[in-house]
């Protein structure tokens, strides 16, 4: 995918996260784009691995840094947590190059960002790792088995939270199917 098109979609995700009331830190953006990729692979294709706070894309991290340096995004420090990441002065210029693309994926971006509106880093980590296990490691595993795997991969997450996250992942996958048909 063209670099500028990738930027336009990422900016659109960030705008929607911000509009829906999300903190809009790097983890929020990483996990929202991971969900977008897994639920609607035609929209965006970053490569993810299991790393910080669950699935993580180094390429997306690089893009965020480059977009911020180039004026497409701006970084707002927030005490005591990590910074908020918001659209920058050139955001509209790059989005303006891809009106059809953005219109086509608008509903899907809104679906994902709406799900993340009130989530914090700990919730996002459990949820995104739950999606990783469900789609990549144990597609037919029971809720308990997947929750156990989640705790094994992320020992700092309690079992009850892992179980809730896996159940929520199943629900989101079902709802997303309505948009893919």
């Amino acid at each position: 995918m063209n670099k500028l098109k990738r930027y336009a979609i990422t900016i659109s995700v960030i705008e929607n996260l911000d509009k829906s009331g999300s903190w809009c830190g790097e983890t929020h953006i990483q996990k929202a784009i991971y969900f977008l990729k897994k639920l609607f692979p035609e929209v965006i294709d970053y490569s993810f691995i299991l790393y910080k706070h669950g699935p993580f894309s180094f390429d997306l991290r690089d893009d965020i840094g480059i977009m911020a340096a180039g004026g497409f995004l701006k970084i707002v420090p927030m005490f005591p947590y990590g910074p908020r990441i918001l659209p920058g002065k050139l955001a509209d210029k790059v989005k303006g190059l891809f009106p059809k693309t953005l219109e086509k994926c608008k509903e899907k971006i809104e679906f994902v960002t709406h799900k993340f509106k009130d989530k914090w880093v700990a919730d996002l980590e459990a949820l995104a790792t739950g999606l990783y296990i469900t789609t990549e490691l144990m597609p037919s595993g029971s809720v308990e088995k997947r929750a156990e795997k989640l705790c094994q991969l992320k020992p700092h997450i309690p079992f009850w939270k892992a179980k809730e996250a896996v159940k929520e992942v199943d629900k989101i996958i079902e709802e997303a199917k309505k948009l893919t048909i």
């Binding site: 063209n2 500028l4 098109k5 790097e26 490569s47 691995i49 299991l50 790393y51 910080k52 706070h53 180094f58 991290r61 690089d62 965020i64 840094g65 480059i66 911020a68 340096a69 180039g70 004026g71 970084i75 420090p77 927030m78 005490f79 005591p80 947590y81 990590g82 910074p83 990441i85 050139l90 210029k93 790059v94 190059l97 891809f98 009106p99 059809k100 693309t101 086509k104 914090w120 880093v121 700990a122 980590e125 991969l153 992320k154 020992p155 700092h156 997450i157």
Partner: protein, 446 residues
């Protein structure tokens, strides 16, 4: 005769580097000794004459610094109960001893897959799907498995590969290998963005040899303040620092910025990388009819800077030999000259400014007379955890004015054959604005 249990190697950056007797077998092996003939900074010595140091001493330096970081972050007085619970490896003495050895060897071996002249043209000179990290993993597996077994305690080859390469690159080589929190932290000690000792050593070593002061920072202080900290938002363990190390962490990041903008991405250094890469492509074609280095371990290890340099001088003196033109430009220091450099004002007019100027110059002066080099500094927002004086864990970005204003290096250069430079500069002065407005960004909106 008495066997020496420990050897000391003098080093301008780290004082003395200690090597244990059983580690000597690895240090003396061909993959490590080959690094004595791989320059750290490629042809940078054509710009900064004393930049002739090699990957061998850098590898020793990374081993020494990785060991120091390991010893600091696993010292019982620096480990909280929370961290002991999440990472059991830091509690157990045998486990600590094992992983200390793993990180030393991983640090020592992390660069053994480099091509001659290090990074120059790596992307185009390795076959598709290969890079120096994958080559490093292959050499460790094929050449160092047995020596690793003979260490006390024996070390698993997979652990060394994991920690030497890190999760980002390893995913492309062994997609099924997973990293535990502990392994993630260990690999971050070597290749990490914020506090990786690979970077610490090359910044210090390169600035020492080049003779510039801005790559230096107080790494002794920085290493002493490193800690494993639980992320306050999720409890995930991460590498962070005590508040007392914040200013030196800032100076490390500033050092990186200055070294990248003034040394690593200096336009003359970059054009020599291009001439070297083009020479290598043509020279390699004469060997196996493909412009790539071999990935067969034996063959790969036989290529060093000296072998390539001999071929460059041969080709420079014989116009019939492949790669003559680029070899001559290197040997006679007659490189292409800068004709256009990326500017933020041009980017506001055209997001693809460098590329459209490059294409316009190619149309006007011919493809073979123009070269392009674009680079965007990798790495995300420079943020990490710090523990303040009240034992509260916070984001460094939220309390550091330096981190929030730290620029990133984004470069774009267009070069031209020197005989057309003057004319092309005048032509570009007259036509640049028109080109930027008329030639739209290459987009595909659907």
């Amino acid at each position: 005769m008495k066997v020496k249990l420990k050897h000391e190697i003098r080093d301008p950056i780290n004082g003395f580097i200690k090597v244990l007797q059983d580690e000597r077998e690895i240090l003396d092996s061909l993959p490590l000794q080959r690094l004595r003939d791989i320059t750290q900074l490629s042809l940078t010595y054509l710009l900064y004459p004393s930049a002739t140091h090699k990957r061998f001493e850098h590898s020793l330096g990374v081993m020494e610094l990785a060991t120091r970081v390991f010893d600091v972050i696993t010292a019982p007085e620096n480990i909280s109960l929370d961290i002991e619970r999440i990472i059991p490896e830091v509690r157990d003495k045998d486990s600590r001893r094992y992983w200390r050895r793993v990180i030393r060897i991983a640090a020592l071996c992390h660069d053994i897959g480099h091509l001659p002249f290090s990074h120059a043209g790596e992307k185009e000179l390795f076959p598709e799907g290969w890079n120096h990290e994958r080559m490093t993993a292959k050499i460790i597996k094929e050449k160092l498995k047995e020596p690793l077994r003979r260490l006390t305690p024996p070390v698993r080859v997979e652990d060394v590969i994991k920690i030497a390469i890190g999760p980002r690159e390893l995913k492309n080589i062994y997609p099924d290998w997973e990293f535990s929190d502990w392994e993630t932290i260990l690999s971050e000690i070597i290749v990490g963005d914020a506090f990786g000792v690979d970077r610490m050593d090359y910044l210090l070593r390169d600035s020492h040899h080049i003779g510039v002061a801005y790559g230096k920072f107080d790494h002794f202080r920085l290493i002493d303040t490193l800690r494993i900290l639980p992320d306050p938002q999720s409890n995930e363990p991460k590498l962070g620092i005590e508040i007392g190390g914040l200013h030196v962490a800032e100076s490390l990041l500033l050092a990186r910025y200055f070294m990248y903008s003034q040394v690593y991405f200096h336009h003359i250094r970059r054009i020599y990388d291009i001439h070297l890469k083009e020479f290598l492509k043509e020279w390699l074609k004469t060997k196996k009819n493909e412009s790539k280095f071999p990935t067969n371990t034996e063959e790969f290890l036989s290529y060093t800077d000296s072998i390539v340099l001999a071929e460059i001088y041969k080709a420079a003196n014989d116009s019939k030999l492949p790669g003559h033109e680029h070899a001559r430009r290197i040997a006679q220091r007659d490189h292409f000259k800068l004709v256009y450099e990326r500017s933020p004002a041009d980017i506001e007019v055209n997001l693809d400014a460098v590329k459209v100027i490059y294409e316009a110059l190619q149309e006007k002066y011919g493809e073979k007379n123009i070269a392009i080099d674009e680079y965007e500094e990798k790495g995300g927002i420079p943020d990490f955890l710090i523990i303040d004086r009240n034992e509260k864990i916070i984001s460094a970005f939220s309390v550091s004015d330096v981190l929030s204003k730290l620029p990133k290096v984004i470069t774009g250069f267009v070069f031209i054959n020197p005989e057309y430079r003057k004319e092309a500069k005048n032509w570009l002065d007259q036509n640049k604005n028109k080109i930027l407005k008329i030639k739209k960004e290459v987009i595909e909106d659907e």
